[in-house]
Homo-oligomer: 377 residues x 2
């Protein structure tokens, strides 16, 4: 690489420029020499360590100025070697292509940033060996904690055993594990399921079709339970002929395809229904596509609800009524949980794992409507 030392674009000759040549790092020793104190003192001052209360103010000032003047930047690795703190958190996604992930990531990133932690990113592509390999790499990099966004696939216990043995706090988002070794943050799926159905019921719908989630997903059962409980309490009858189920799949975006296909099958049955409650947003979009193609207008002839409130839900036509998961907040909370554990670990306190259930929120948009003029068959 040609180094043009023409620092041209910098009219006022702002600092930034390092020494004269080479890219040799500015080390603490440099700061020590420049300021006339020892590296020990420099370390104490720059980290505001406990001993800093004995350091003369004048000394502090000189050291801080020297550090700034030289453009000193602490070396995170060297620092870790002594202090055992990497200021790093592992962030593992089961499958980043799931639109569910983006807001969660935003929440996590933002919370970490506040604490000056840096995330090491991993995407398991829904493959188990990849997941384990990444775990290995994260351990080599000595992440101080682990956050797993488990939107789709299953992890089993044995990987986490390894973690807790190493005393690395971990939290999962969108999944929870048996045992008390790993914290988790989830939406309250049962309440969410109830909300969606209650909304349709309030609009007057009685012939309602359902597309349940894949059996392998932890969300499927509680959502359905919420549905059943509400139906029971409201005296609503669920026609088994209108209940479909997505097949298991390793692709988080398979819901669209699945919703589309199942809805087509449903329409062929010629059974009447005025509303359809889909497992998640993508499924709902697939269903809408199928309905529209068959000439059934949404929401005029049939109302449709989703679940999650991914970005697409607001942009689709018609925009989707859905049950929102507070995804960003879930990310934030997961970070707070592991941060708390890290702190506890440093102070040699014990910490408890927590299992947090967040409240969902109904977001009413254009895909649902009063039953009055609805009818599809």
């Amino acid at each position: 690489m040609d180094e043009l030392w023409q620092n041209d674009g910098n009219p006022r000759g702002l600092p930034l420029k390092r020494a004269s040549g080479k890219n040799q790092m500015v080390t603490m020793r440099d700061v020590a020499e420049d300021s006339g104190f020892s590296p020990a003192t420099v370390s104490i001052v720059l980290n505001n360590a406990p001993l800093a209360r004995y350091i003369a103010p004048a000394t502090k000032k000189r050291i801080e100025e020297a550090a700034k003047k030289l453009g000193y930047r602490p070396n995170a690795m060297a620092r870790f070697l002594r202090s055992k703190r990497s200021h790093t958190v592992g962030l593992v996604f089961f499958d980043i292509t799931d639109p569910f992930c983006t807001p969660v990531m935003r929440g996590i990133e933002n919370a970490l940033y506040q604490s000056s932690y840096v995330p090491i990113f991993a995407d398991a592509h829904n493959q188990r060996n990849r997941f384990e390999r990444y775990l290995e790499m994260l351990l080599e990099h000595h992440v101080e904690a682990l956050i797993v966004v488990a939107n789709w696939l299953v992890v089993d216990i044995h990987v986490l055993a390894d973690l807790s043995k190493r005393n690395i706090p971990a939290a999962t988002i969108g999944w929870e594990l048996p045992g008390d070794t790993v914290s988790s943050v989830m939406v309250d799926n049962e309440t969410g399921g109830r909300m969606a159905l209650e909304h349709l019921h309030q609009l007057g719908h009685r012939k309602i079709a359902f597309i349940r989630g894949p059996k392998m997903l932890i969300d499927s059962a509680p959502r359905w339970r919420g549905v059943q409980k509400f139906a029971h309490s409201a005296g609503l009858e669920i026609d088994p002929g209108l209940v479909l189920q997505l097949p298991d799949s390793f692709d988080p975006n398979s819901g669209f395809e699945g919703g589309h296909r199942l809805t087509e099958e449903l329409l062929q049955k010629k059974k009447k229904f005025t509303a359809l409650m889909a497992f998640d947003d993508l499924t709902a979009l697939g269903a809408i596509r199928a309905l529209t193609k068959a000439g059934v207008k949404v929401p005029e002839h049939c109302s449709v609800t989703g679940f999650d409130d991914v970005a697409m839900a607001a942009l689709s036509a018609p925009s989707l009524t859905t049950v929102r998961q507070p995804l960003e907040a879930m990310g934030t909370n997961a970070v707070n949980i592991v941060m708390e554990s890290i702190k506890a670990g440093l102070e040699k306190r014990e910490w408890n794992t927590v299992r947090q259930k967040m409240n969902p929120e109904l977001v009413i948009r254009d895909s649902t409507r009063d039953v009055a003029h609805s009818s599809a068959d």
Copy 2:
């Protein structure tokens, strides 16, 4: 946000036993002692260093077995301290909420994974100070290279000067910088612009409306140039009254809103057009929303094209004809470029920055159609 803390999912009330087993690391010294060789030998064997060719096969075997038996994991930080290699790459997004980012990230992650590098993730939220702070953090963590996904906002030169001075190879995706210090990977916007218009032209459209991109975006000008060039060569007249422009904005998702609003304004003008070419997919979706709301059916009355081919494009109703950017490949290529530079740096060779223009691809879906029966006013 109220959260129901369901901490009681712990029937046996286990206190999450900590400490007892210690989490003392297995170090290289342990492997050395167990195998009966010196740490030096262990290092040489485990890294397959040049000197390894002198090591007796039996020795290698014993060491490798000991390492496996003890569950030895090299300490990335300690390793860095001597070797200066962190096996880490900084990955900075201007704004991760842009759907553009997900496939790019997939490509980057995957390519890094192949090389056993680990990405440190940063999201600038389109804020300059955040960008700089992250840069600082990444330097503290001694990333070996930097990849910047510059989908939306502007970076200026002075931040990169710092980088190249430190000999850290960098590549941008979706943006390019003046000078020859930073590599870049972009789509060929001009060709893409031409493709979209050519497609509409081939379908017989002559009255075509345009929503141009915000001036601040580097993509806007070349796409428009492609449009103009094609129009000129095909003898197509562009009616200035049908050309709109998105305002500058710091929100990568503002296109939807903008496309919606501009299209409404366009419709109010009562000028005839049978097709609309939008700056990107979100803009196109916004436009479709406005058209549909006004009773103009897409594609029956008006064809619409997007640009990018984000995930949503395939799922919207109607699905969107668009110009695809090979996002995943762009990510992969950026990684390959910086990896090449890293290698060159290690071997003290010089390396060249590269400016790569990827070919876009026309993806024809349901939002465009033969002009025959089209007409909107």
